[in-house]
Subunit: 367 residues, 2 copies
C-alpha cells in the first residue's frame, strides 16, 4: 500500500518450496521459528484489526480442501490447504498448502508462496509461544506423542522458546520415532524413547500430542495427567478428529486461537457450547488471565488459524526480500491501457515481460 | 484422479498471462471462445454434479477481493478475483484474477493459471451461449453500451456463435469506442458509432450492456426496448451496481446463472425475492422454457459464476497440455517420506527438482 504510487507493477513474487528451504538454510530454522513467533505475537496483539472470515471447506470421501482468508487494512491473505489422511498410500503428503498475500488497496497479488513447510514452522511457533506464556516457568521435559511431520519443528521451537532440554517420545509407528530421533541428533536435546503414551507422559512438564489418525482418539486420559502440566494438543484439528479424553479438558484451563473455529475443529468439539475457553490473544493482551497457579493444568487446543498463515507469509515475504530470493511471475497482466485487455492479444510483448519464449505477436489470428 | 497411481508427482503447471496469450495466438481466439463455450455448455448440463459453495468476499473502502470455489467429484477449482473501480488511477486493471485446479482425491494443486484474460473469454462465451439459445434466430445487429475491456471479446463471441454482423456502439468515454473500433478493424463486423445509448439501441436485435461504474444506473429504460429484443446485461454484477431500469426487468423473461448468487449481485437485486427468474442450465437441459415467442423480451442477467471459471481452467489446462505450454513449479513439496517434512530442510535437493539456483544443502544450520 505504502509504495503504491511509485510502483504500479502487477508482478507477483513466487516462493517455491525450494526458495523456502533456501530461506530456512540461510536464516537458520532457529531464526525463522523465533521470527515467525514474534510476528504471530505482534499480529495477535492487534486482533481487532483483522477481518476474520470463516474458512470454506470442500469435503470429499478422501479428504478436505479448504480456503482460509483473512485481511487487515493493508494485506489480504489466504491459504489453500488439503487434508487427505490416505495420501501416504501414494507416497504423498497428507497436508499440502500454499498461500497468497495481496494488496487490499488494489487487489494485486503480491506474493504466492508454498505453505507446507511454512505451516509446520508457524504451527510450532504458535505452540511454543502459547507454552512460553501459560506453561510453568522452568519447564524442561516435554513428552511428544506422535512423531510425524510436525514433530521436529515442535521439538526445536520448544527447545529455543520454552527451554525444553529433554524429550520423551512415543509413536505407534516406531519408524516415525526413529526418524525424529535421527533428525534431532546433535541438537542438544536429551531423548528418551518410551513404550507407550503413559510412559512418555510420566514426569513431563509439557505434553505435545500430534497424532494423525482422523478419529475421536483418547491419547491422553485423566489418570495420565499430573498437576501443573501444560498440554499442547496439536493433532485434534477437524470435526471427528480429537486426541484428549473429555475428562482432561474438564480438569484444565483451556486456551484456543479463534473460539468459533475451535468449537468446530478442536478437541473442545466434544464439549458443550458453554464449556469455558480463553482466546490466547486475550492473555497476550492482558485482557484475560493465563495460568492461575502452578498446580493448574493448562491445555492449548491448537487447530491452526488463518492469522498465523498471514504472519508467516509476511515473515517469508520480508525474508525473501532481504535475501533477494524469489521469482517474479506474471499471474495477472501488465496492461498499458487497462480498458484495452484485448490489446494484450494483438500487441508485441515487451521482452522484459516475457518469462517464456514467445515470439512477438503482431496480430492474433481470429480465423 | 484417473492417472493417480502412475504419477504421484506433486508438481503444479503454471500458466502465466504470457502463456495464455500464446495459447490464444496458437489456437486463435475464435477457437478458444467456441471451445470454452462448448465446455461451459457441457458443464452446465451436469449442474447437479457440482458442489456450489458461496463465494467469500473481503470488502474494503477501495474495492473487494473474492475467492470463488467449486468442485465436482474429481476437480476442485477456485478463482481469486478483485474489483477495484479506482485502479485506473494507477494505470492498473480494475479486475484481475487467477485460479487453481486441484485433485479432489489427493488435494494436489495441478494447475495455477492467470484468469484475467481467461475470464474475459469465459464471460463472452457464456453471454454468446445464452444468446444463441434465447435470442431470436437470425439476430444480426447488436448494440454495445460500454466499450471497455470486455467489449471486443463480447463482439467476437456474438459474431462467431450468434451470427451478429452489425454493431452499434456507445460509451460515455469516446476513447473507449475508438479503441473498440480500432481493435475490431478487419473482423468482418459493420460498425455504427452512436451519440447515446438510446440511439445505439435503435433497431438492435440484441443489446449488450457492459458498463463499469459501481452505481445503480439505468443504462436501459423501458421506452428504449423493442419487442423481441434480447438484453445481455453484463455490467450489473455486484451489490450496488446495476444497469437496467426495473421496468425493463418487469417486462422481460429473465435468465440467470446461479439464482442465489444473482439475487445478491445481479440486476435483479432491485427486484423482490419472488420475482421469477430461470436458471439457464434448466433451459439447456430442457427442464425449463427459453424464449416463448418472438415478441418476448429476454434478459440474461450475467454476474459470472464459479462454474464458468472451472470450465475455462479445464479448457486452458487441456490446451496447454496439447501445445506443450506452461511451466512446472514446486508449489507443494515432493517428499520421499511424507512423515519426514523436516528432511527437506536437511537433505540435498535433487537437481531436477530445483527451478532456482540453490546449492545442495547437506544440513540446515540450526544455530
Amino acid at each position: 500500500m505504502s509504495n503504491l504510487p511509485n510502483t504500479p507493477t502487477t508482478q507477483t513474487t513466487f516462493l517455491s518450496t525450494e526458495h523456502l528451504v533456501e530461506i530456512v538454510h540461510r536464516k537458520t530454522l532457529q531464526t525463522c521459528l523465533a521470527g515467525v513467533a514474534a510476528r504471530i505475537e505482534s499480529d495477535f496483539l492487534r486482533w481487532a484489526e483483522f477481518d476474520k472470515s470463516p474458512r470454506v471447506a470442500c469435503h470429499s470421501p478422501e479428504g478436505v480442501i479448504e480456503l482460509m482468508p483473512i485481511a487487515d487494512a493493508s494485506d489480504f491473505a489466504f491459504k489453500y490447504v488439503n487434508g487427505h489422511p490416505k495420501n501416504t498410500r501414494w507416497g504423498l503428503p497428507t497436508v499440502m498448502a500454499f498461500g497468497v498475500l495481496a494488496d487490499v488497496a488494489t487487489g494485486i497479488p503480491r506474493l504466492l508462496s508454498e505453505l507446507t513447510i511454512s505451516t509446520a514452522i508457524r504451527t510450532a511457533a504458535t505452540s511454543a509461544l502459547v507454552a512460553r506464556v501459560v506453561a510453568r516457568p522452568q519447564s524442561k521435559t516435554m513428552a511428544m506423542i506422535g512423531n510425524g511431520a510436525q514433530s521436529e519443528f515442535q521439538a526445536l521451537a520448544f527447545r529455543d522458546m520454552v527451554g525444553i532440554t529433554h524429550l520423551r517420545l512415543f509413536d505407534t509407528d516406531p519408524a516415525a520415532t526413529d526418524k525424529l530421533e535421527a533428525n534431532l541428533k546433535g541438537q542438544g536435546l536429551a531423548i528418551t524413547r518410551c513404550a507407550n503414551a503413559m510412559e512418555a507422559v510420566h514426569g513431563a512438564d509439557i505434553v505435545t500430542t500430534c497424532t494423525a489418525d482422523k478419529t475421536n482418539a483418547t491419547i491422553l486420559t485423566p489418570e495420565m495427567i499430573a498437576p501443573g502440566m501444560h498440554i499442547n494438543a496439536v493433532g485434534g484439528d477437524c470435526p471427528g478428529k480429537t486426541e484428549l479424553h473429555r475428562g482432561v479438558l474438564e480438569a484444565s484451563r483451556v486456551f484456543v486461537e479463534f473460539e468459533p473455529q475451535t468449537r468446530i475443529e478442536g478437541d473442545i468439539q466434544q464439549m458443550p457450547a458453554e464449556f469455558a475457553v480463553t482466546e490466547f490473544w486475550k492473555v497476550l493482551s492482558g485482557v484475560a488471565a493465563g495460568r492461575e497457579n502452578s498446580e493448574q493444568i493448562t491445555v492449548f487446543d491448537s487447530v491452526g488459524f488463518a492469522l498465523e498463515d498471514y504472519s508467516v507469509l509476511v515473515y517469508m515475504r520480508d525474508a525473501a526480500l532481504e535475501l533477494g530470493l524469489g521469482e517474479q511471475i506474471e499471474l495477472v497482466p501488465r496492461i498499458e491501457n487497462p480498458k484495452n485487455l484485448f490489446g494484450l492479444l494483438s500487441e508485441p510483448l515487451a521482452s522484459s515481460q516475457a518469462n517464456v519464449a514467445i515470439a512477438p505477436l503482431r496480430k492474433v489470428a481470429l480465423g
